[in-house]
């Protein structure tokens, strides 16, 4: 609850790059106001030099993710009334990403790890072959379906302490994607992929903190996906396949 009698909120916002600082703005409190509304208000009415990202503003694209009062979240889906503490808000860019400017971060490392985890599909069929018959109720398909709604917003990556402690750690999103592909019977990169995710900085670095599960705005479960990768990697290692 904002609990503010004066109808305003005190909002600290990160300004600058890596070595920036917090600046404080006073913003009118309104009903049903989201954090994205507040950031937009600051940029339009107080300081036009504030840089931030958004696109759909309705909780579908994942572009507006930021750190709000210490937690990574989609700002368009965060109501100020729910998130503010005693009428105060602290807005920063996502953790674990390089800061470009103010609230905008560089996503390149995130996507590079996605590629390193072999997060891309590789099929074997051509248009001249029969359609692949995939049973929707098969265990494998259920595992894949549980994880494919990821839209690469980066919230899990920001929430993950192992990403902060191990700069090479592939991270929950990339590993979750790898797991969905391991379970995709049409894909044939299994062993290359398992070898890629089982290294020094792969699935075995996950300690099942479940901060990713706690914060994923799409309610996905990278911890479970990574546990699946651990089992698959162990089986492959024992069979000499990786």
């Amino acid at each position: 609850m904002s609990g503010s009698n004066t109808g305003t909120l005190e909002v600290s916002v990160w300004r600058g790059g890596e070595n920036g600082r917090y600046e404080t703005y006073t913003v009118p409190a309104r009903d049903s106001q989201t954090i994205l509304d507040i950031v937009t208000y600051i940029q339009r009415h107080i300081d036009p030099t504030l840089s931030y990202r958004f696109a759909c503003r309705v909780g579908m694209c994942g572009s507006c993710a930021m750190t709000v009062n210490g937690k990574p979240r989609w700002t368009c889906r965060s109501h100020a009334r729910v998130v503010a503490e005693n009428g105060k808000l602290k807005i920063a860019p996502l953790r674990n990403f390089k800061v470009v400017k103010d609230l905008a971060v560089d996503m390149e490392a995130f996507f590079e790890k996605w590629r390193r985890a072999e997060g891309s599909f590789q099929g074997t069929q051509t248009r001249h072959d029969e359609f692949a018959v995939v049973q929707p109720n098969s265990k494998q398909r259920k595992h894949a379906d549980a994880g494919i709604e990821c839209i690469n917003c980066g919230v899990c990556y920001a929430a993950c302490d192992v990403v902060a402690w191990n700069k090479d750690y592939l991270g929950p999103a990339a590993l979750n994607r790898a797991w969905t592909l391991v379970n995709d019977e049409r894909d044939n990169k299994d062993m290359t992929r398992l070898a890629a995710v089982a290294g020094d900085a792969g699935c075995h670095a996950c300690h099942s903190h479940q901060s990713c599960v706690e914060h994923c705005p799409k309610f996905l479960n990278p911890t479970a996906s990574i546990a699946g990768l651990k089992r698959a990697a162990a089986a492959a290692a024992l069979k000499g396949e990786i």
Partner: protein, 115 residues
């Protein structure tokens, strides 16, 4: 280190974890029961001396611990220190050796107690 090596380390830690889960239950029950009336060397020696079952149990316990603890510490050292991996590997191997040797000395000392 290679994907396969890291996978084997993970597997070794989980397998020893499962063994230790059982061993720890036995150990805690034994200790809690032994604490009744106070601990004495005579009682400890009396339980283990010449007893093959306890010997095998404690040997399994010590070997599992000597594998499990160093692997766990290795991960923690890699995450919170900036020591090189070879240095960390050396440290945890030293720990593994110490635990194994001291553990064996203790067990065989109690098992073969002559006096």
């Amino acid at each position: 280190m290679s994907a396969r090596f890291e996978t084997y380390l993970w597997l070794a830690q989980r397998i020893t974890a499962a063994i230790l889960a059982v061993a720890v239950i036995v150990h805690i029950v034994t200790i809690v029961m032994a604490m009744e009336g106070g601990l004495s060397a005579r009682e400890i020696i009396g339980r283990v001396q010449g007893n093959m079952a306890w010997l095998v149990f404690y040997l399994t316990f010590v070997v599992s611990v000597a594998i499990h603890a160093p692997i766990g510490l290795r991960t923690i050292l890699r995450e919170i220190t900036s020591l090189s991996l070879p240095a960390i590997n050396a440290l945890v191997i030293l720990l593994a050796l110490f635990l194994g040797i001291a553990g064996f000395r203790a067990i065989f000392g109690l098992y073969g107690f002559a006096g």
